[in-house]
């Protein structure tokens, strides 16, 4: 992930202050997120449901 995209996403997330004060941390966080998300293989079955399932009326 290049720096321009990171700056754009950081602004969208409202992290301008962090970007000004801790730019290295913001960049490290963005690269970490990209690496970890890329390590997940999406389920092959398009019908595979997420967990936890929606259960109407439970847990309210």
């Amino acid at each position: 992930m290049d720096k321009e995209i990171i700056e754009l996403l950081a602004r969208r997330a409202g992290l301008q202050k962090a970007m000004a004060e801790f730019p290295d941390d913001v960049i490290a966080a963005a690269r970490q997120a990209a690496d970890v998300a890329a390590a997940i293989a999406a389920p092959e079955d398009p019908r595979a449901e997420p967990w936890p399932p929606m259960r109407a009326g439970e847990g309210l």
Partner: protein, 464 residues
């Protein structure tokens, strides 16, 4: 009687019930030990000595009047400082919540107090139960009693350090990616992450709603079962609480392992994340001992640690970002660098990443459930290394990832970590047992068999 600070919960309870030991005498002995050792260990954020002594006096009076509440009555407990104790600060070891005083007890704390346990204070954690040992916070990080130059594990670092050092016989920890079992592994004690939803999370500051667990940390397996019995049970006000009836978790403790089928997940430590040789040797020794005791050993294959880890982190960091976004936007400098980096990662996860992780999670749960059709308990590594030096931050980062605990936060199965031996350098090595959903009693049965065969409950750090 043995040194009071090494009494287990069960031993202290028996001595109190037999009027051979008063809760006040026990509390005084532990407070003296805390005064002596805590300046080196930093296990406490808030020590509540006066209240603890007053509660010990009240327990003594109640027991003398014939109103003993059970095996925890009069026994001290330490509480991780992300859990509310009425009247005490819940700082989460962070500047962000430095002035946050709890008005009510968390449900797990209230259940312990209802059973007669006495809160001795609030314990160090990694900031907000994430991050790592940080030296840029208002309180120092806890240290390992086996060698205070080393990391005690985390995030329930004060809980692990204090139980192992004999500052209190039991503590509460929380576990989102391994935070009960990591300090249990580093400090050589018993730490359980129960089945997801078995213990209420209400009153515990969240890190990740679908991964957070509260768990007991003790020096013996039997004590862990006693503590779980006190804190388990449905809470209608915790949306993740399971509709289960708590069991008698110590029921199978003396039964041994004859006839049990134990699945050895070797690929975790042999292929996915190769462990240090002494960790591998200790795991082989545990497996062999259980086999000699009558268990049937089978090899089991699960998804890889890399994939479990990625699913855990995408879910954890996405949910944690949702909790911390406002503070990270407005007060990023009030976080430690370690936790700031980890928490901000969630800002860069897409909604699709999160849902994909939750879909893959369901498949992983099914894979572990499928393994349990053929075995009763899984045996695998916990940490791939003994605890590293606490001031070597690159090494802390490196070893943090070298573990096999996150799979069972992803799947929600109960998992227990305990000591498997000692390294050449005199630091604890660890093993992990994993059970079917809500079958904590079987986990304790296997863990007790190993404890009995190895005498791990009698090994204490050379401190004090």
């Amino acid at each position: 009687m043995t040194d009071l600070h090494w009494l287990s919960v069960a031993e202290a309870a028996d001595a109190i019930a037999a009027r051979e030991l008063s809760p006040v005498e026990l509390m005084q002995a532990l407070l003296a030990r805390i005064e002596k050792l805590d300046p080196r260990l930093n296990a406490f954020i808030t020590l509540d000595g006066d209240q603890a002594l007053a509660a010990a006096q009240a327990a003594e009076t109640e027991i003398a009047a014939g109103r003993r509440r059970g095996p925890l009555h009069g026994v001290p407990v330490g509480i991780k400082d992300i859990m509310d104790v009425a009247g005490l600060p819940t700082t989460c070891h962070s500047r962000i919540l430095a002035d946050n005083v709890a008005t009510d007890d968390a449900v797990c704390v209230s259940r312990l107090r209802g059973a007669g346990a006495i809160v001795v204070g609030k314990l160090a954690t990694h900031e907000f139960a994430i991050g790592g040992p940080s030296f840029d916070l208002p309180w120092p990080p806890a240290r390992n009693p086996w060698n205070p130059d080393h990391h005690p594990g985390g995030s329930s670092s004060g809980s692990g350090s204090g139980v192992a050092a004999g500052l209190f016989p039991m503590a509460l920890g929380s576990d989102t990616g391994g935070s009960v079992r990591n300090p249990a592994s580093c400090c050589g004690i018993v730490g359980l992450k129960p089945t997801y939803g078995l213990v209420s999370r209400r009153g515990v500051f969240p890190l990740s709603f679908t991964l957070d667990h509260v768990g007991p940390m003790t020096r013996t397996v039997a004590d862990n079962a006693l503590m779980l019995e006190a804190i388990a049970g449905h809470d209608p006000l915790d949306p993740g609480s399971a509709a289960s009836t708590p069991g008698h978790y110590g029921a199978a403790l003396g039964r041994g392992v004859r006839g049990l089928r134990i699945g050895f997940v070797r690929h975790f430590h042999e292929v996915d994340t190769p462990a240090e040789p002494e960790v591998t040797a200790a795991l082989q020794h545990v497996a062999r001992s259980l086999q000699v005791a009558g268990a049937e050993l089978r090899d089991v294959t699960l998804p890889t640690l890399a994939e479990f880890g990625a699913v855990n982190r995408v879910i954890l960091q996405s949910e944690a970002w949702s909790i911390h976004a406002k503070w990270l936007r407005e007060r990023p400098g009030d976080y430690a660098r370690f936790s700031r980096r980890r928490l901000m990662a969630g800002a860069f996860m897409g909604a699709g990443d999160y849902v994909t992780a939750q879909r893959r999670r369901r498949e992983m749960m099914a894979a572990v459930e499928a393994a349990f059709r053929d075995v009763d308990v899984l045996l695998c590594a916990s940490s791939m290394d003994p605890a590293c030096r606490i001031d070597h931050l690159e090494e802390v980062e490196r070893t943090y990832r070298r573990q096999a605990r996150t799979p069972f936060n992803v799947t929600g199965h109960p998992a227990l970590a305990m000591m498997s031996g000692l390294s050449k350098g005199g630091l604890p090595l660890s093993v992990q047992f994993v059970g079917r959903y809500f079958e904590e009693a079987t986990l304790f049965q296997v863990a007790r068999a190993w404890e009995q065969a190895s005498g791990m409950d009698r090994k204490h750090p050379p401190i004090g």
